[in-house]
Structure formats: structure tokens, C-alpha cells
Symmetry: C2
Subunit: 224 residues, 2 copies
């Protein structure tokens, strides 16, 4: 039996939001990974390369698990009816609805996080209330079939946690080993709760502005 | 002043080997990231999507830092004179010569790890001797201007460590914060030294075979 993981991508996606999960999902026997974009043109990422998605939204088969990545481009993407229609259609049929980073706000625009425990990139936590979600601490937050991850690199923890839940710990441990995922970050700087004050103070204004832009994008995009 | 990071890619590259470093390098002001491939066709990755590299080998400008990623495809890539010529040319002019995972063996085929302290994916450690390198423990190993990383996800630690060394800790800490790199792996399973015996026993035969194939590829490709 095939378990289909669908990842929709869009211009200015934060590529590491989904390339981490894609790496681990692609290693699970029986998983069919379908990366999908609106058209056939290469999708520009935030990291100076473009991705050629094997599926367009109209060709992409139905997901067992949909995972929406984030990035600055999600603000435009959620205001594109073709993008949001695709997410909507895929979420309706999926066993698991998931997001990494600001991909959460695509689910939020569809009313899917209303009253649910969720997370997103730390810089956007306060926007969660705008779509009725309940911010919950954790790199990976599970609320029934809704599984959300924090910013960017949390997608790797997320992918392994989902694999453990759906396919069992044995394969998750094996994929963690093959990915040599034994992280040794050079600093304690991966979250405002552990980073030094100067670093947080430098990042805050940047994210305050982005959070405001996300609020406006969400307002323009919300369907419920 | 621009600091140019060149990442050569090839079919069957392990995309997370370089998408992790690409994410962090792309966030450094003044870094120009050049992903390059042999031709203009999309490069197939190990994760069910293809990458459109903005540069071909012949168009790609000279690197200040070259980073060679790995993956099963590196075994064919190092036997392609066009690939190895490109790496050779770029390494000659670069201030830093680096690899992630089995990308090391491209440097090895060129004689660049002879007598140097290096690392690679844990499954290929024993092949390091075949190209005269000295296996050294560590997710990131620095030997002068030669900086090598362990398997796959170690590329993120590597990228941040290099940024700290070249551009200073302040920007490295800021990028770690914006990438929310505060990892919480679900298991202790990211290296044979910490994984449980069953998981290691399951992985070992797989990597023993791959290591043997790498040995043969290296023998066929070696130039010195």
C-alpha cells in the first residue's frame, strides 16, 4: 500500500521548510512523495535555486498527508485562489493535515486551525490568533490529525516524528541514523528562549514587520 | 564585497546535503550563492524533485568557497571528467574547499585530502583511507582551509560554523535564530555511537555495500 505525501510549493518558498521533511519522507518504503506547483515553470526558492516540481496542482493525486511549507512567498500564495483551492481540496481528503513554519497560515486562511493547538515560526506566533488557532509551545505540535511544526529546521524533527507515528519508531530511527541527524548546533541561538539578548533584539524588528504583513495577507485571503 | 559560494550538483545528489548549507549561506549579506550543474537540464535529486541550477559549469564564476555535496550520485559524478574538471578548477582558486557527506570523495579523487584531517557520512568512514585522508571525529572537521562535514544534516552545523569563521559569530547566531535551529530529534539515533544496536545492525549491511561501491568509483576516478 502506498502512503502519499503531497507538498505544495510556490515562489519564494523557504526551501528548507520542505527539503528537510522531503528527505526523510522519501526514505520511507511505501511513501510516494508528490511535490506540486501551480504551473510547469520552475519554482523560485529563497536560496538562489529553482525547483522543478513533478506535479502541477491539477495533475497531483490525493494526499494521505499534506504538508504545507512556509516562507515569505506564502503571503502571496494564500491570496491566489488556485493555490488555496488546491490546499482545500487536498486537506478534505487527507488523513493528516500538516504544516511547517508559516505554511500554517495557508491552513489558517481556510479556517482549519480554528480552536486547534498549533505552532509556527517563532516570529509569527502572535499571528496564530488571527486565524483562531491556539499557540502551543513545541517544535512539533500534534492536535489530532493536525500536526504543525515551528520554523524551518523544525521540519526535520517533524518529519521523523510523523514517520514514527504513522510507520513506527523502527523506520524513523533508521532514517535518523542514515541522515546522521545527531545535531550539534554551534551556538545556543535557535529560539528566542535560548538566544542571547543582542541577537533577539536584532531579529525582532525584522519579524515584527513580517508578522504585520502576514496579518494583512491572512485578512485578504481568509475564507471563513 | 561579494563572497561567492559555489555548490556543484549532479543527478542523484542527496539534496539535504546542500539545501541545508544553501539555506544558511543564502541569508548572509554579501554572499553570492551559485548552484551549478553540468548542463541546463533539471538535476534529479534523491527526494522526488528536480532542481534547476542557475549556472552551468562553464558559466559559473570562480568560488571563494566551494562546497561539494554527496549522495549515491557522486559515484558516477566523479567518473565524469567534466564534473571533476569543474571541481578541480574551482578548488584551485577557492579560499575554502569544503564538502558535506560523500561529497568528500570528489575532493579525494583529486588528491586534495591526502594527509588531511577530514570526515564524511559515518557509513563511508573507512573509505577515507583510500584517498589518503585521515578520518577525524566530528560533525564538522577543520584542517586549514579544508572543511568537511559528516552525513546529510551535518551540513547545517557546517554552514553555521563556516559563517561564524568567515563572517563572525554575530551573523551566524542571527541566522541560527531565523532558521529556528534549536533541534530536538525525536530519538537518540543520529549516529552509530548513540543509536540502538538493532538500528545500527539494520543499517550496516546497506552501508557496507555502498562503501564498497564508493571504493570502486574512487579507484576508477582518482587522478593522483
Amino acid at each position: 500500500m502506498t502512503f502519499r505525501v503531497v507538498i505544495p510549493i510556490f515562489d519564494d518558498v523557504t526551501q528548507l521548510d520542505f527539503t528537510g521533511p522531503a528527505h526523510v519522507f522519501a526514505k520511507v518504503p511505501g511513501v510516494e512523495l508528490c511535490i506540486a506547483s501551480k504551473g510547469t515553470a520552475p519554482v523560485q526558492t529563497d536560496s538562489a535555486f529553482a525547483i522543478h516540481a513533478p506535479y502541477t496542482f491539477s495533475q497531483c493525486p490525493s494526499a494521505d498527508l499534506i504538508c504545507v511549507p512556509g516562507g515569505v512567498g506564502i503571503m502571496s500564495a494564500i491570496q491566489d485562489p488556485d493555490f488555496l483551492d488546491f490546499i482545500d481540496r487536498q486537506c478534505r481528503g487527507a488523513q493528516y493535515v500538516t504544516s511547517v513554519c508559516t505554511g500554517l497560515f495557508a491552513l489558517g486562511a481556510l479556517g482549519l486551525v480554528e480552536g486547534r493547538k498549533v505552532t509556527t515560526h517563532w516570529g509569527y506566533e502572535k499571528v496564530i490568533g488571527d486565524c483562531g488557532g491556539v499557540y502551543t509551545k513545541g517544535r512539533v505540535v500534534v492536535d489530532g490529525n493536525l500536526i504543525t511544526a515551528g520554523g524551518v529546521t523544525s521540519g526535520i524533527d517533524f518529519g521523523l516524528a510523523v514517520i514514527a507515528q504513522v510507520f513506527g519508531e523502527e523506520i524513523a530511527r533508521l532514517i535518523q541514523l542514515s541522515s546522521e541527524y545527531n545535531p550539534k548546533p554551534p551556538f545556543e541561538s535557535g529560539h528566542p528562549s535560548v538566544a542571547d539578548e543582542e541577537t533577539v533584539a536584532q531579529a525582532n524588528p525584522f519579524y515584527a514587520e513580517l508578522a504585520q504583513r502576514m496579518r494583512e495577507a491572512l485578512k485578504a485571503a481568509r475564507r471563513s
